[in-house]
Amino acid sequence: MTELQAEQGVQALEVPHEAKTRRNRDALIALAVFVVLALLPTVFSSKLLLDFVIRCAAYGLFATSLNLLVGYTGLISFGHGMFFGLGAYGFGLMMQKTGVPVPVAFVATLGITFAVALVIGAICVRLKEIYFAFVTLAFQMLIHSTILSWVSLTGGDQGLRGGIPRPPFLGIDLSNQLHLYVASCALLVIGLFLMHQIAQSPFGYTLRMIRDNATRASFIGIDVWRAKLTIFVLAALFASTGGIIMALFVSGAYPEFAYWTISGEGIFINMLGGVTTFLGPMVGTVLLLILNDTVTRLTDYHGLVLGIVILFFAIGLRKGLMDFVVEWYAQRRSGGGERG
């Protein structure tokens, strides 16, 4: 799998115009997906579907950005959820306290995330493997404790109360569920498109090289620390966007958003969908949310059911669904390509 990707990478490096056509094709696909999603409400009138897609956008951006770290760079972060929480709180607070227009708050939140991720990342990415996981987890818990303790700003355990005001801008009114739905779809599609570009860029192949052999990468003159930090910060920005969507969806921000369980869920989604394909985490998101929503409807013992399903994936399949599908497909075609 990885060799195959590396081969493609060499191609991408050597033939720039091919990369350009690929980008154009990706952009077209992204546009088509967006149009389909945006037209969905005209076919199905179910509000549940809209809610579901909004949540998919929030978790999907979060999980896919985590995969940039886990799958592409080999950085297993247990604390990625802190940026999800940071996005939710940053955006919610900005809207509640300052009353700036939504786009300004959006950009400013990403700015804050950028700064925080830069500082935390600079400390964390020096560490390797499981220790990187631990230190990110520790930072996550530190941020969570801070949110709980800093009651005057964050509202402590009760979160940001009273709803998040969202004055209409450019004719978009995010308090209207349909508008929120379309905006979430747009953010999701743009986010996925950008992340795919990152993954397919020369920089993306540098990351894969670091994952497979960091020593070799540094021998050929790659600044490993800088590359890891860059992807850490970029991933944080997308996770933060996911948090913003979630804050808009529930009209508030709660400490649970910054708790380690969110990071755990992100990892779980990645494992469920598979980390070797770009769209694996997205598939995982849809799977987990459907699973969660149906199981909680049916039984109080959803932990039991969810646990057994996880065991099925971990012990039965031993890989994520997309990994499995791709491998199976490749076996049938004896060497088919990887495509989302």
Partner: protein, 300 residues
């Protein structure tokens, strides 16, 4: 912040003794859970995320045994033995299938069992919280040592935990089984080439780790309320302990547990609203300055 209270306490021997023992009590129970975690990691290279569940089962087993027999000793025995068996079964049937797989896969199996075990406990014992009650033998007035207050039950608790630490340490260093376990931690291939059944060792280590966590749960049952999910916060804290002490190091687990205990007991005086945060801050500082923890060895 309330630094006056902290400095005031440091100046009084009564307060110093009481808070230090209170740090030890918190620390020793944590140690029992953490040492299993660190042992399993050291030998099997698995971060046993479901370790808190063994603590929980230990407490529930002990409570049930105590209700039926009224014997404290039997309750402790049931808590420890029951979880040892559970650990063995868990390792042989499930964990053994994911050795050599991705770290994340192993975590996922453990995570699945956190969910499953919590629901199983809820099915068997019900969702409401329970209390085992303090055995009559320990319902006595606390002792006064240098002006500080120490309850007899906690002396027993510290004693048991210290004994467990000594037996473990000596057992690993001196006995044949201990040597085999340490060898298996370094080079499992070599050990199995020598004709030793590594599966047995792995299962044994898991059972031992489970037993220690179960014992901690059993010891805690008379003073802590029992609910499904009770293992969770204990897991997180013992996780911090092992990371600070160094994954795989028993001495590290002991020192880490005591440090966390002391941070809690003195931190609650000086920083009553940020005690939890202090622990994480400490963990960050240790990890950044010494990624492998205070007593951990660099893993190749």
């Amino acid at each position: 912040m309330d630094l006056d209270a902290l400095t005031g306490c440091l100046a009084s021997s009564a307060c110093l003794v009481t808070q230090t023992t209170s740090g030890f009590i918190i620390g020793m129970l944590l140690f029992l859970v953490a040492v299993g975690l660190t042992l399993i990691f050291g030998v099997l290279k698995v971060v046993n995320f479901s370790h808190g569940a063994f603590y929980m089962f230990g407490a529930y087993f002990a409570m049930t045994a105590y209700q039926f027999s009224g014997s404290f000793a039997l309750a402790m025995l049931c808590g420890a033995a029951g979880t040892a068996i559970l650990g063995l079964i868990f390792e042989r049937i499930f964990m053994s299938r994911v050795y050599g797989a991705d770290v994340l896969m192993q975590l996922l199996v453990c995570y699945a069992f956190v969910l499953i075990f919590d629901d199983v406990v809820r099915m068997i014992w019900g969702p409401e919280f329970k209390s085992m009650g303090m055995p009559a033998a320990f319902q006595v007035a606390p002792l006064f040592i240098a002006g500080g207050v120490v309850p007899p039950y906690y002396l027993l608790l510290i004693g048991v935990a210290l004994a467990a630490a000594m037996i473990l340490g000596l057992g690993l260093a001196r006995t044949r089984i201990g040597k085999v376990i340490r060898a298996a931690a370094h080079n499992p291939g070599m050990v199995s080439a020598l004709g030793i059944n590594t599966g047995l060792i792995y299962g044994g280590v898991f059972a031992l780790g489970g037993m220690l966590a179960g014992l901690a749960g059993a010891l805690a049952a008379p003073v802590r309320s029992l609910t499904p999910g009770m293992g969770f916060s204990v897991l997180i804290e013992s996780f911090i302990v092992t990371v600070i002490g160094g994954m795989g190091s028993i001495l590290g687990a002991l020192i880490g547990a005591l440090l966390i205990g002391l941070i809690r007991s003195f931190g609650s005086l000086g920083f009553p609203l940020f005690t939890e945060g202090l622990m994480y801050l400490f963990m960050v500082i240790v990890l950044v300055s010494r990624p492998t923890g205070l007593f951990g060895k660099e893993v190749a």
